[in-house]
Symmetry: C2
């Protein structure tokens, strides 16, 4: 690659035969006859998860009852599952814990970070970031008397100055798939004395991440995209070990207490990452996520990234070859070094086009106003999926079949 | 009742035969040979929950994938499940939503309530309340510049004055089982211009509650005690319809937005109770809770309360008859009108005594420093359970078998 002759389906079949991650796909329960390219919205189900959850329900809950908090090790599930995520994001096990949702974890670390920066009053964000990141930061700004300042992605580095308490960015943009250089931006932020909060929703599990190597301060991310934890799976939060003793997060629930079962009147934060906990851990969600993470056992994240890059590059190359003149435009970076594991295309009628593509069994998604979004999960997407999905897209665009009432009517979630 | 002759096991067997809720017990999956009196910590599992969750996993997640947010009605699950809880707590369906944990919901409504009371700076709480309620209120006080003032339970009414912005109480105390008069206290708080937040963790599902009748302002509660939603089930939050338009809660995540899938830059709170949502709803937890709530279908909450009172009264009467001189003391109100659905006993060696009782197959729990706690869940506890559990307790105390290293060693969660 790049290849000079037009690509053929045989080329993709050969890549699948040589794929070191090829065996992983069979360990997912995927619908037959469909191609799933929306793992960046909801990851597919590892086939062993239902048996694990059946055991949790019928044995641990029904038979063990309250005893399972000890006997089935429910109590340390947030730490244990966080430790498994830690390896995927370049953190130590004692720096990551699973809890609540991404939005709530973001709230915790943003408030904690403002408290560590008493002389500064600016939270620097990005226009075009995933909305909840901006909404939560605006909520934090209002509560803490800070100013939320949002700039265009290209202006972030220039906007870093000694007023900035916190820089809050998403590593890979949900819409464009554009990826920030975590190490370079973190280093520049530290030069001006700012702390950085990274949202890893669209990168955790899709590529190697090196939070420790980048000297990252805080990070959050979700469990239900590339980590395949299931719908609404709990999220994770990372705090660099050097910051943990100084973190005072505002959601002071009993599970973040130093000794929750002493039931003391006054709050005292746990000395470890446990201080990021709030209420009772959602066991069904955590244990499903923990089971799902077994899919990463033995996986070299660089091998996974290599496949992700190949899938995206080939998708782009095929779009160039086959969709010319059909009204689509690449909206993700062409350079893999600046991209996550998705490719976004723009089309003036993206919503009905995506519905028509889905009707052909290729499941991507739409993001307003005009984005066709395709996510590539190296653990279960094959190379042939790329070929077949571009054929479906071409057929939908050439035929104009998207221009039909059934595809134009909006659903509540797209 | 009260009966003059000493009670016998036959009396309890007869009560079970006449129990209008007797058929409900068989619909739970309970361990054979054990008596479960800890439903006020973790409710038992309704036997149909695993089949529902298996369908959620294997069909809705694995096959439906992202489409299930629409096609399997995942998206409205928080509202739908909240609506089912509403009937149990005397609220309208549009006033209750399922989300996050009790601690986090408490944070939301406490901050929202302080914002509705700009001239007042006191959050009035109770010493002896469940710790997370106090911890969260202290976190809110610090963030909002309020003062958290905690008084003894008997001093609450006297402490209500025109400085008080919010009164934050738990309806039924987790340790003593003592119950506040919700209507009277709410009325008195309103007279002095305070808003009231009720924590229903130990009453929702155990008795009729009439939030609307009491003109209650806000309430929160958990899904995993008497509602039987499973370990760490999501919680619920109630906001009186008259307050919803004025509620500005601080956790401004995207699912609380008026149009979350428009992905606009600025936060705009949803006009309905949906504004209490934050991140993506934890579907496994919510759907398990929703299924579990079917156990309340067709149940008259007054009939349920009558059984709860009978179970507690009989337990107390038996303790009086059979445990005299064995070092136990009643720590719950003797008057049912002042009590929830639990009975707490004090004993100088409560921890090992409870472990020895558990070893005999009667599962209650310990609360520091000296409380033996027994919760009675009318949907699955029988009258004979009362007789048998007091026999076990008597045998443990008479034999002194609790005084053994195996029972004295502490587990992390008790």
């Amino acid at each position: 690659m790049p290849l000079s002759a037009p690509l053929t389906r045989e080329h993709f079949e050969r890549l699948d035969r040589d794929d070191p991650l090829g065996a992983s796909r069979a360990r997912f329960d995927l619908p037959t006859g469909e191609i799933y390219l929306d793992g960046n919205s909801l990851g597919a189900m590892p086939a062993h998860v239902p048996a694990r959850i059946e055991h949790v329900l019928k044995q641990e809950w029904a038979q063990g009852l309250i005893r399972s908090w000890n006997d089935a090790d429910w109590y340390p599930a947030p730490q244990r599952t966080g430790g498994k995520i830690a390896r995927l994001i370049g953190a130590q096990a004692n720096e990551v814990i699973v809890a609540d949702s991404t939005s709530i974890n973001l709230f915790k670390v943003l408030v904690a970070a403002t408290r560590m920066q008493p002389g500064r009053k600016v939270i620097l964000g990005e226009r075009g970031n995933f909305p909840t990141d901006v909404y939560v930061a605006s909520g934090v700004a209002e509560l803490t008397g800070c100013e939320l300042r949002c700039v265009e992605p290209d202006e972030v580095l220039a906007a870093l100055n000694d007023e900035v308490a916190i820089l809050s960015l998403t590593h890979v943009n949900y819409k464009s798939g554009r990826r920030y250089d975590m190490a370079a931006i973190t280093a520049r932020a530290h030069e001006v004395g700012a702390l950085v909060v990274w949202d890893l929703c669209h990168s955790a599990g899709a590529m190697p991440i090196d939070l420790n190597g980048a000297q990252a301060d805080f990070a959050v991310g979700c469990g239900y995209k590339y980590l395949n934890g299931g719908p609404g799976a709990p999220a994770f939060v990372y705090v660099a070990e050097r910051h943990i003793p100084h973190v005072r997060q505002p959601l002071t629930g009993w599970h973040g207490h130093a000794r929750p079962f002493d039931f003391t009147h006054d709050y005292e934060a746990h000395p470890t990452i446990d201080r990021l906990l709030v209420g009772t851990a959602p066991q069904l969600g955590i244990l499903a996520l923990e089971a799902a993470l077994e899919m990463f056992d033995g996986v070299d994240m660089q091998v996974l990234r290599n496949k992700s890059v190949a899938l995206c590059d080939l998708f782009i190359q095929l779009c160039d070859e086959q969709l010319a003149g059909l009204g689509v435009e690449l909206r993700s970076p062409r350079d893999a070094a600046q991209r996550g594991s998705q490719v976004s295309l723009a089309h003036a009628n993206a919503y009905p086009v995506m519905q028509a593509v889905i009707a052909r069994g290729v499941i991507g998604d739409f993001r307003a106003p005009d984005i066709l979004r395709f996510g590539f999960a190296p653990l279960y997407n094959s190379y042939v999926n790329i070929w077949d999905s571009v054929q479906a897209l071409r057929e939908v665009l050439e035929s104009g079949e998207w221009d039909s009432p059934e595809f134009i009517a909006r659903k509540s979630v797209t």
